[in-house]
Symmetry: C2
Subunit: 189 residues, 2 copies
Amino acid sequence: MLSTVRFRPMTDRPYHHGDLRRVALAATVEAIEQGGPVALSLRDVARRAGVSHTAFKYHFGAKAGLLTALAAEGYDLLADAVTAEGGDLIEAGVAYVRFAVGHPAHFEVMFHPNLYNADDPQLLAAQERAGQALTAALSTSATENTELAAWSIVHGFANLWLSGALPPELGDDAGNAARPVIRLLSFIQ
Amino acid sequence: MLSTVRFRPMTDRPYHHGDLRRVALAATVEAIEQGGPVALSLRDVARRAGVSHTAFKYHFGAKAGLLTALAAEGYDLLADAVTAEGGDLIEAGVAYVRFAVGHPAHFEVMFHPNLYNADDPQLLAAQERAGQALTAALSTSATENTELAAWSIVHGFANLWLSGALPPELGDDAGNAARPVIRLLSFIQ
DNA sequence: GGAAGCAACTTTCCACTGGAAAGATATGGT
DNA sequence: ACCATATCTTTCCAGTGGAAAGTTGCTTCC
């Protein structure tokens, strides 16, 4: 009967999205890359994903839950990126910078813990993994201060690059621009 | 006549606040220190300052204008802090870290240009001043890469400290914790 | 010294936001 | 067949930033 035709308000996608969690994270990344976390709107993300703005509640809880998942994903990606460079301190540092510049939304959220639920178990596990990857790359360091210097230098370079504070003469490849700077670490004793 | 008694809706302050610009900036700093720029609400700032939420329009334009003024103030404060250390590279670096940790709201806003009007003349002037102060402190550096390393290390340490990523064993004085790390710069050639 | 004009605020309105609550729909196990 | 649960939507509400118009008080000029 014709009366069995139902009203599909927003789209012709089936009622159950099926992959909302991943799509939501990707849409969030897109939104943050355009306007930063301050301009991030759940309703905007929902429109990008083609669902209602309350659809995320089931998967992530509130907005902070969405960003918690994003941060956790970021720490996992960072751990992978750093680990992939073996034990080479310099290239691990370059990888750190490349990760930050290649995933600015993740990076931005990761280091602003007041945006997410810092005690989430999944997140803590990912942080632990990233921490161990970094520690492994730093295994040749003599003192804790040299470790701090190494972390500070790559983290600072990445942040300055992302904020647009560095001179344009450095080109558009952050990793290559960072390498000679990071290499100075080898002089430190 | 009694009929001359007027209605004073929000407070018994005179109609003209008289010092709203400064009070607004201070209230904004307070609000950002509590919740970060994401949670910043003009209406909250207005309540803290005891005015209506549209009172800032005259002084700052929109929300971005308020943050533009805050960023400009920040660059001025940073220039002062760095200049005060004379030509000492190490202590200038410590001053950079102390500024960031002592004025987290300013620092946070300053390096997120999408929060404010980056082409504002007042802001550009303050940025210029800060840039020259930093360049002066770095005057003894041999190459551009060592300058980048120095800036990255203090900027990175400050950001990591503010995000709570550094181990608590470093104590609660960021400047003193940073000094030995910054001092490693003297080994760089 | 009084009126004109400008500076500094308030009120009101509107479209948008995040979240709570309740309802709708699909899916898989029994 | 049917129920339990997972996944989504609708509806509602208080809070938000900004536009527009109105109010108040200061200052300057004749």
